[in-house]
């Protein structure tokens, strides 16, 4: 299987094994016209096994969503066959319309077209809470 050789695009590396489809969905990669490769269960010295996603186009990725899902993912930007940038992710302060509040008593579910906003309330533990009802995201 030859999935190397991206000329210009983005490689998401060090994805926790099994998480690649979730990321594919969150980032709406199905809407892209270009080549997208999902490689699962690659051997990794750091993680044991990992997933990789290769996107054959220089698109603007929502790094906040990616950081929310897993801040350990590395984002490699490749241009004309050369690695031009390695982006480090961090936990975003706020995520909008990525996760839905699960508290049935929360106003964000009752009021139509309400943005689902979660804020990082405890950076050490990576805990996000709904800004409306303070429920934890996980």
């Amino acid at each position: 299987m030859n999935v190397d050789g991206i000329n210009s695009g983005i490689v998401l590396d060090h994805i926790k094994a099994g998480k690649s489809m979730e990321i594919y969905n969150y980032l709406n990669l199905d809407e892209l016209d270009c080549c997208v490769a999902i490689i699962k269960n690659v051997k990794s010295t750091k993680l044991g096994r990992k997933d990789i996603i290769k996107i054959d186009a220089e698109i603007n990725l929502d790094l906040d969503i990616l950081g929310y899902i897993d801040p350990n993912i590395t984002v490699n930007v490749i241009s004309d066959g050369v690695l031009v940038e390695k982006k480090k992710l961090k936990l975003p302060k706020e995520v909008k319309n990525v996760i839905k509040c699960k508290n049935p008593r929360c106003i964000s579910l009752a009021e139509r077209e309400t943005d689902q906003i979660f804020r990082l309330t405890s950076p050490e533990e990576g805990i996000y809470r709904c800004i409306y009802c303070d429920s934890e995201s996980k």
Binding site: R105, I107, A110, E111, C130, I131, C133, D134
Partner: protein
């Protein structure tokens, strides 16, 4: 401060300022009787709560202002499917400040994001009720002369009781606070509150299921209701409910200067006979609730005497 949605929105200084204004109002009620002349408070109560609504309305009337509003979802546009935001935008055309109670958690916050006038959270489901906590703080300050160096016993439903949760959060900001948490096993405080307390160095706490034991050490006893519907079965409820009832017998364990507080309404958790004990403060609490709401309305409308 533009809105008051959660007690944690307020700094210790802002709370001190509100308490200062309340005390001044209590001492010079005439001086404040016209400060809100021409201003209107809208009380939007999407679920009924007569006590809280009357307290807000009395506060505004005592400041010389006027009140309008509705007091249950069926008399409002909410039953026709109008959104919280549309209701607030409409009412903001008529009123200068809004007090909102809503069964959904976060509704006042959502309203405040779009409201051109200040919004006060008058209770959003089981989530938050900051003016109750301000009322409690004013009462403690007035009765004990301080908010720090205090042993606070909280008794009853500590799991679901939001007044207890926000009082713990608010008191945790002061130096040398000890909590004695008295509840049945089934109604102990949630883990996240225990975690929050662990992170603070100025807080000590102890958990017990004996009211008498907690009462002996307390400067304040804060009673709450143990609701029947919180228990899985009637037998557990019947077994436990009496242990958490304060009567004249148990009052003998209290220190001479311990104050007894309760957010009201009570059912049977404080015997009526305790009302005559000078240490019972819950009716003073009700009156303090009006004064702190007066101070809050003034602050949000940026008026002074």
């Amino acid at each position: 401060m533009r809105h008051l949605i959660d007690i944690t929105d307020l700094s210790v200084n802002e709370i001190a300022e509100l308490i200062r204004t309340s005390n001044d109002i209590i001492g010079n009620r005439k001086a404040y009787s016209e400060v809100c002349r021409g201003r209107k408070l809208a009380t939007l109560f999407f679920e009924p709560s007569t006590r809280t609504r009357l307290s807000f309305e009395a506060a505004m009337l005592e400041l010389g202002g006027a009140v309008l509003g509705f007091s249950s979802a069926d008399s409002s546009s909410a039953t026709k499917g109008e959104s919280v935001i549309d209701t607030v935008r409409t009412v903001a055309c008529y009123a200068d400040v809004i007090a909102m109670r809503h069964p959904k958690e976060g509704a006042p916050l959502l309203a405040s994001l779009k409201s051109p006038v200040p919004v006060i959270n008058a209770g959003d489901g089981g989530h938050s009720h900051p003016t109750q906590t301000l009322t409690d703080l004013l009462t403690i300050q007035r009765e004990k002369g301080r908010l720090d160096n205090m042993t606070v016993a909280l008794c009853g439903d500590l799991k679901f009781g939001r007044t207890v949760h926000s009082l713990i959060a608010a008191m945790s900001c002061y130096e040398n606070i000890k909590f004695i948490l008295i509840s049945p096993e089934e109604l102990k405080i949630p883990d996240y509150i225990r975690e929050d307390m662990k992170k603070r160095r100025n807080i000590e706490w102890r958990e017990t299921d004996k009211l008498e034991e907690g009462l002996a050490k307390a400067d304040i006893l804060y009673m709450t209701r143990v609701q029947r519907e919180r228990f899985f079965n009637e037998a557990d409820y019947m077994r436990l409910k009496d242990s958490f009832i304060l009567d004249t017998e148990k009052m003998r364990y209290a220190k001479p200067d311990t104050i007894i507080m309760h957010p009201l309404p009570r059912v049977n958790e404080i015997s009526v006979k305790v009302d005559d004990d000078p240490r019972a403060c819950y009716f003073k609490q009700v009156e303090n609730g009006k004064f702190i709401r007066m101070a809050l309305i003034m602050r949000l409308l940026e008026v002074s005497k």
